[in-house]
Symmetry: D2
Subunit: 279 residues, 4 copies
């Protein structure tokens, strides 16, 4: 059966890597639809993303690659024909969630939204209108660790590829972060590293900035310090109150998050040393 798969390779840089990998693909009679590579000359690390089409003998292909490539190689072969599954975490704001719901509805994002989890209940109606399960897991009366544990239990029922924090306004504990390495995408409402933490629009207003922005990033254990996937900004001026900035920023936030998610859904993201390489 003809299948589409994506081969993601990263390894210490060496001579002849592209030749070796593409040769093996060629010998397996696989057609390369797209190929993109990058060498980080600072870390001397090689990254390649190869879209393959053909009849796969997956085990042998990976064996051939691992045999041929240097020690320390990571090879992943991902089924490009399978629709990925996400779980979305929210608090009270609807715009990022709404954009993902709507894009998924009309086919702008090729994804299955398995469930939405809120620490408040107010977005339930919206989610259920799209026939998607909504879970309210309140943080009230729970420690952070207890709450995160309940989240993880519910998330794991759905076995998602990616977890999207669509304006989920709580910090997640290290155990939670470690459970889903490079699988949790957050949207922060500033152009990081400016305005890390709470109330970025208020602080942008107080500082008198002339641009505001948003940043989609994978979470790690430092607040707003994870690998950045995408950023964008819009112009503001003195006529914008903090609230007007917040309103204007929503379109940036939702677009940045949706596009970052789209990159993840297409397996276009490598994470290496707290940065993303987008191929």
């Amino acid at each position: 059966m003809i299948e589409n798969k994506i081969l993601l390779t990263d390894c210490p840089d060496d001579k002849g890597l592209i030749a070796k990998i593409t040769n093996i693909c060629y010998k397996h009679q696989l057609n390369i639809l797209h190929n993109n590579e990058f060498v980080d000359f600072e870390t001397k690390h090689f990254f390649m993303r190869t879209e393959l089409q053909g009849i796969f003998n997956e085990e042998v292909l990976l064996e051939d690659l691992n045999f041929s490539l240097p020690k320390g190689t990571n090879c992943r072969l991902i089924n490009a024909d399978r629709r990925k599954r996400i779980v979305i975490l929210v608090t009270k704001e609807a715009h990022c969630l709404g954009d993902i719901l709507m894009k998924t509805y009309y086919g702008g994002l090729n994804v299955e939204i398995a469930a939405v989890i809120g620490n408040h209940d107010n977005l339930r109606t919206l989610v259920e209108r799209f026939d998607i399960p909504f879970h309210c897991i309140s943080h009230e009366g729970l420690t952070r660790i207890e709450h995160d544990k309940k989240l993880a239990e519910t998330i794991d029922q759905y076995n998602p590829d990616i977890i999207v924090l669509a304006k989920y306004m709580r910090v997640l504990n290290p155990e939670f972060v470690a459970r889903y390495p490079n699988r949790v995408i957050n949207i922060h409402h500033s152009f990081l590293p400016a305005f890390i933490g709470a109330n970025p629009y208020k602080r942008a207003y107080d500082r008198g900035v002339k641009i505001i922005g948003a940043t989609a990033h994978f979470i790690n254990n430092e607040l707003d310090e994870g690998p950045i996937i995408m950023q964008n900004v819009i112009n503001v001026d003195h006529t914008y109150s903090a609230e007007a900035m917040m309103k204007a920023g929503r379109d940036v936030e939702k677009t940045v998050l949706s596009r970052a998610l789209d990159l993840a859904l297409h397996d276009r993201l490598f994470v290496y040393q707290n940065k993303t390489i987008i191929l």
Copy 2:
């Protein structure tokens, strides 16, 4: 009762216009919250938008203004406390409609969507999920004039302030256009005046452009030639097929349309000699 009203004035330019208008407002004990004016030196025409707060004696105020200002003055006093009403026309695509639905839902647009009318039926489910009436008025078997007449009849039932063409893919006849002067906002999927008419993405692809865009404009009787309200673009490159451009363009289209609509909802648009002045 304290009310908020917007005074829109335009007239042939003259000395002392701002003084005259603001004096009259002052004598009426009205507070000016925002005031913006523009003089078009080419046409020697004056435009002013004044946000007023206070107790209005509307009739006398307008009399005072008309008495004091030059011949050819247009003064409109608009209730800023009333939520405006729109009717949306669509064909098959959901993204622009979806953005307006979602923003209205969470308060990002302060508007009442009175109804959505489609010449196809496929967006009914989406619209009805938001508890908004959907009318399918098929164009099949009808002349353009007959179809537009049916549209107008349905539209007029809802008495909307503004009619939004959210990817309504049919040309409207002059009678329809004349019925709603400067009240019909269209989104065109190119940076006009490039790619007027059908299939702009295909033609953008064929031309090999490096930017694609969208234009929101009031319709007039020339196809895609009405007064432009807002435009925006995004970068593309050789890796984009016509379809990929169309997909990427959707976010621009919807944002441009929503923001143009927002300007109209706040009465920030003057139309003069086929251009918009945004105050």
Copy 3:
């Protein structure tokens, strides 16, 4: 004699301010070419910029205004027909200086460059090619205060309206700053408040940001904390080394600085509580 002047007014907000000011102008038979005002509702402060044309009785005009307007009013009347004079401070980099030289040469900036002062000598040739005096005032062997004093002495010979730090890579001491309040424009090579201080491109690279930018601001006594005039960004990606970011950033830096300077040259900037209002 018909003259063009710009009236800059700021005062505590009150009812009828626009009426009062424009009335007085009207009584003085002055024509208002452009008028822009802004009320900051947070600080309850009013700002207005009025471009006037006519025969001025300047003293009486200002008396009338000050008599009529509330306590705490600042009124300035600026000759719009006089070309402003600047002194530019540089270190070693040519791109921001070069853009101002070139724009001034072909009339893109309406300014007289009175002199350029460098703490290194390497830009002398470039400056002298444009028949502009260049002074090298080395900081070597001098304390910061001594060096800044020598700078100020040279600057004051030229009596400039504005001092432009076109990649002048040294911090200026508080005495220097106080000598030229809101008259010293700096360009910082990041989108502030991100990457305050040294080596912003290196730090942007290390953080893995996807946008880089530049900020033009008036200096104050906090490093990179002065009132922001203009900011812009460009997209970067993983293929950019720190050096490539620096190279790409130059076009943003120079454009942001030139445009901020242009605003200052047209007296379009108010500074209030560490923010700029651009009218």
Copy 4:
């Protein structure tokens, strides 16, 4: 001797092309610094740009490639260590020329400006200040063909890699165009295909657009219809006269042209069927 060369390959698409090319490079013991490829699925054509480092046996390398690759393959091996040479054509405007002069001066463009040719004399002083030969070749009293012939004779003396039309405001005849295929870069002061031909800013003003832009493209025999290299836009509004648009547009024009030139200088451009592929 270790050299840097760029291998540009394009050919009908086929299985195994990347493997074949990179294998041959590997066998020649050449290190691949960067490799980028693109397959145009519409035309079924393959493009690859490979930055190579090592000791080259150029003749054998090209033989090996041409033997191994399909019929219709173009392979070019370009010396990346040699600084390219350009001739710039101008009319009267200084901003695009000035930007290239300045960037070349401070190393922002790695290029040798062999000469500047104007059909007017007014830019001579500026050019000669940078110690670059300036030729005034007036078009007065000459037919287009005669004038273009004189241009070509002067250009050919300098044997340039690329000819840059930095606001050269005349159409070049087909013979001239054919003489330098895909080697003449023009800047047009609109976002093509909008406003092809003369006075784009005036026409943009008349149309009431909200963005203006610039397009760098290779010239061909259709006015403003050549392969587009780069485009950018900026926002404008109703306060912009046609002249203000022209002034604001200069920064876009010069930046777009400089960046397009930079791509050409790095051999990153393929031209295929009136489009550019940028690798």
